[in-house]
Symmetry: D2
Subunit: 395 residues, 4 copies
């Protein structure tokens, strides 16, 4: 094993989502956890714990509506994160929850909705400047539920105009990531439905707009590593949202359903780095909300799985691979990938962690830390004091 394989782990900084530590659920209800975060301070504390335990999660993504209070100085929020050793990562506007967005935000036929949405996007950009975050991450719930509901081309043009307004608010060091998703919550048509639509939009905007790939946002059987390879080749890949899925957008822990696919995605990145001499500038962000797994454990599991698969992909013998590819030897080319994938990287990961001063087995270390028990007690008490119940509401 070369040093470069191990040091490739240094290129994998993983951003944690503040919203991943609070109670969430499906449309059928929430299952509550006593240890779930009550407020932004809790979220930062939990994210800080994950970073402390894993040594590779120095930033936390924030969700503007949920993490910033009206009138609050954003620097206070940044300071709260720093208290737990974290910097503010990507800024996530919320363009889907207000009643105004009933028929969309940037795509809505209602000028008031579009105007409010653009204003929110610009505010998020300004907020990013204040907290020194360079990434504004746009996900749109926009779309229609029924054929005919709206004019698809008109919506596309509204998107172009609104995105342009937000793009123009960027400082030179900021970038805008445009996420795509084939469906949900829109049921008939989603405005930014696939990588091609995101690409078309970003190309029109300029060099500070890039495509965001959420690993769970694809059609069944779609080849995600090919999309990643194309975006890399076009210098249009801005970031990832990490998760896994079986059916729809299931927000499962990364690699829990199909680890080989994640390995192949990472292999494309290592291949790009091998060719260009450096890793591409990509934001690796987790986007997961767990309602069954303990939230902090699930985050640690995703982080360690990402490192494990990243390392396996770094082990791909690219020279042997290239030789087999050029000579049309399919069996050997595939075997190069499989050999790397089947390698047990436990010891290597332990070595890297030791060099960073973190425990070889982060999940075990977390469990031994007593943190879970501590926050469970504390938050249970605080909920009680504040009169917050965690019971199913029968709608």
């Amino acid at each position: 094993m070369s040093n470069s394989v191990l040091s490739s782990l240094d290129a994998l900084k993983i951003e944690l989502p503040s919203w991943g530590f609070a109670d969430t659920g499906t449309r059928f209800g929430k299952f509550f956890q006593a240890a779930s975060a009550i407020d932004t301070a809790d979220k930062f504390a939990d994210a800080g714990m994950v970073n402390k335990i894993t040594g590779c999660c120095p930033t936390v993504a924030v969700h503007v509506l949920w993490d910033f209070q009206k009138g609050q100085d954003p620097k206070e929020v940044a300071a709260a994160a720093e208290k737990h050793g974290l910097k503010i990562g990507s800024i996530n506007p919320n363009l889907f929850q207000d009643q105004l967005y009933k028929t969309g935000s940037f795509g809505s036929a209602d000028p008031a909705a579009r105007s409010a949405a653009v204003q929110h996007g610009v505010e998020c950009t300004e907020l990013g400047k204040v907290v020194e975050s360079n990434t504004i991450t746009y996900w749109f719930a926009d779309g229609t539920n029924y054929p005919g509901q709206d004019d698809i081309r008109a919506r596309k043009r509204r998107f172009e105009a609104c995105l342009k307004s937000c793009y123009e608010a960027l400082s030179p060091s900021q970038k805008m990531l445009v996420e795509y998703k084939p469906f949900e919550p829109a049921f008939y048509q989603t405005d930014i439905a696939d990588w091609g639509m995101s690409y078309v939009m970003c190309k029109k905007l300029g060099p500070q707009a890039k495509v965001l790939v959420d690993t769970g946002h694809h059609y069944q059987s779609q080849n995600i590593e090919q999309i990643v390879a194309w975006l890399l080749d076009e210098e249009m890949l801005g970031g990832f949202h990490f998760n896994d899925r079986r059916y729809a957008d299931d927000d499962l822990t990364l690699g829990s359903i199909d680890p080989y696919q994640i390995f192949r995605i990472f292999s494309e990145i290592h291949g790009y780095a091998a060719e260009t001499g450096e890793y591409p500038e990509i934001d690796y962000m987790i986007d997961q909300s767990h309602n069954l797994k303990p939230k902090i454990e699930a985050m640690i599991q995703t982080v360690t799985t990402a490192q494990e698969l990243w390392l396996k992909a770094a082990l791909v013998d690219r020279e042997a691979l290239h030789k087999a590819q050029i000579s049309g030897n399919i069996v050997d080319a595939e075997a190069v990938l499989k050999k790397a994938f089947n390698t047990d990287v436990t010891a290597m990961l332990a070595e890297w962690r030791e060099s960073k001063g973190v425990a070889a087995d982060p999940l075990a270390a977390y469990r031994e830390s007593g943190y879970a028990e501590e926050i469970e007690a504390d938050r249970t008490r605080r909920r009680k004091e504040a009169g917050i119940t965690q019971e199913s509401s029968y709608a």
Copy 2:
């Protein structure tokens, strides 16, 4: 057009869901409607209005947790429905919302969850006896989110045992419908995932257990009409949940995405009736919750679309179809279906409606009735008085 075609509409009684008149949403939030039902009385009033306007929706499905109060005499609920010209239709247990059901109900490894679930199932059955409802409709959110989470065969056996306990509580005139769904809210494995699993369970239970087909609960590209045909042939089809979908379980109005598919499903039923001389005993139930379309309008649209496609399917020239099929004439066989599907049945529907004393265009009649304005004013006032807001909650 023969009389039998028109009178075939008499066989299509459509049950309305009480929960379809209240505010609902996706996991990303709810979009509220001023006219949405506040309580069960509102729901019955709305369902009664749909029945009055369409003339073919004499029953309303109830959801036990949401429509019956602890300690309340169920007959009061039945009386409330009768006030609006309705009878109580299928009884729908809720086995997914309580915190106890975190890892499932009938399939849970937790004996307390299973016990509570069976008790609820039996209570629903008893409640059905009181309100003279003969159909208990079981949908299970049960499943697992991750590989290994639970033992699939153990869950299957727990299901067998729990279903048996509920089955045994049935009176001779009651039946139990077992619904299947491939995914959601479980993400890795759903205990009753397809028609085969529902069939296996029902066969073990006995003749009062039948399969429930929700038109939105299938894999992409799965042939629903074939499943319907097989279940009919096996005398195992107990009922339908009507809706449409494009991607997942999208709860769209029936036939809004693929009307030809619904037509083909109905054609299987007419074919069965043509052969046996009578329509099968099937409960036709709507299961839709709309957060964008006005709820009552959406229900009327589904009912009239169902009638329209049912009538088109009744127009299939079965003799010509059979002749083409037997002689291997694919083009002509297909053309028989297409001809019926392409027939404009507006006038025929008007004729049938006239004979039933309802308006030829139910949606227009509803809009002219002033009902929407009336309930909007009334419920807005009542919400105000009760301090109920319809604003997005930022979680």
Copy 3:
């Protein structure tokens, strides 16, 4: 009904595929037809018959390997088509059948394969100039069957280079259409897998390269009409391959599985025309090979179905639609589409056909013509004379 609705049919010229009249099959075998075309002359005769009967199929797509003989003057082929009242339509290179293309054509790691492929592309372009065909239609079977088999980015770059060489051979009046397809015959990764990949390629090539949409080449549940709308808005839609499918690329007659979807696609085109004042320059081509339906009947069925759905889509009341869309009235907007879709257009089609001097019911007219019996007898005799058997070969 306005005149413009009826005259919109004039904009729908449908190109027939020469290969659609010969025996074909699945990988499991062929089912032969006595009336199938033996040679290119037969194919042109059959296509000419379909055009004569329908009045809207003036061109025939040719497949270079199968319709042109080595050393033959291409003008002879054009003359053979003209004999049957047809012009040569799109030129279809074959870049998948030669043993040289085992690992691809433009994407192959083998320079000899790429070189031969480019040479064939250029030859097809030159051939197009000779026979006065302005459309060169590229479909690529290129891809890989296994992870690692080849370098995805390298394949992309090879494609860029090869496409460029072919593009440069175009005369100013020629255009190049680039088709996409998610899978088959490649099983793991297809080089031009979706509209985005085709778009990226065409954009790099220049204004004479456009995207070709085959209605059967999409992921399950993908919204084809949205892709069409986007491509129209980007002025990047060059043509269609008409067919239908349920599962994979099933090559079924257009609208046989989901007619409403085809209607919605056509509605996007009419909407574009309503806005710009003219129909876009699009090649409407059939790509179907039938092994069960009689080939000529299947073509007639597709042509008449296309006209029927095109006409229904032309009936969409765009003003009412726009009004409902702008006011967020989802129910009414959808109803505008449904009303047009449900209209019986039989009489309108008959009127248009009468005005063109063709029979009101083309399929019936074809059957009465005696053509089928004639070619069946003729071709059976010729096969016998030439010693051609139509029996299953047991491999």
Copy 4:
């Protein structure tokens, strides 16, 4: 590692398909291999080589139409197999290739097709008795391409009757496996489309009829391990066809796309064995035809991959798994699976192979054997002598 883990490999006997050694292709053409088998003797030689190299493939599946000559004594075929150390495994009828089967075999509306099909099924059964094969494997291409083409319920009943006739021909020691497949070559409806349909048929037939699971024959996202678990629990799982797929029925080498899924399937079998004390009686058969990978190498790759994933699945700590499952500890339960899956089993496999007297690395051993060069030279010469070309035929 306990002995029982290693010895679990003894339970995994893998059957090779005779047809997997001959040239095959997709509907777009074949890519030929010089070393491909010309006749049944070649196929047995190749299968014998795979068995010699791997030590775990003692039987070869035969395809009646392709491996047995009219009038030939079947014992000659069995003797030819024995010459290479093999026994005849499953008998595979061919009910799809004859022109008579244009609209199906057991499901056809044509009594002559059904009669021929049943006769063939019975003949295959008798042939099985002669060659001492106990497994008759039924796969049906039956289905329809268009809505209306045939009566689905009528087809179902024809299937019941024909299957019964074949079932009755079984000797007490023979069993009949009924395979399901959602689509292809039928495009609209497949008669035995899913496990439920196969199950219903087998239940009616009796205890000698079991379901055959082909790992490539499922809907996108369908949970195959759950189907396996249910069939095991119902004692209805008769066998597997091993392969992998990404999109449709892609016939890829096992585990090449999603190895974790195959691991989970095997884990269900080990779990059943752990509970019952013995491995279920299942036929593990490869069904793959490769047109790009060298055929023998692909078979060895599938066999070794199967062993590797089987062994990993045997390493699952079932006690720890059960404990985590019962206590609702999702993270730990999943980790038990992941730990086993991530274990490097190379050394263990080498140990087992050594104990069986075969090489630790079968693929390397095969390559060193010189067999590939030998058959390539021999078969090239024989093809030349027989005037067999391996060139693309331009249809």
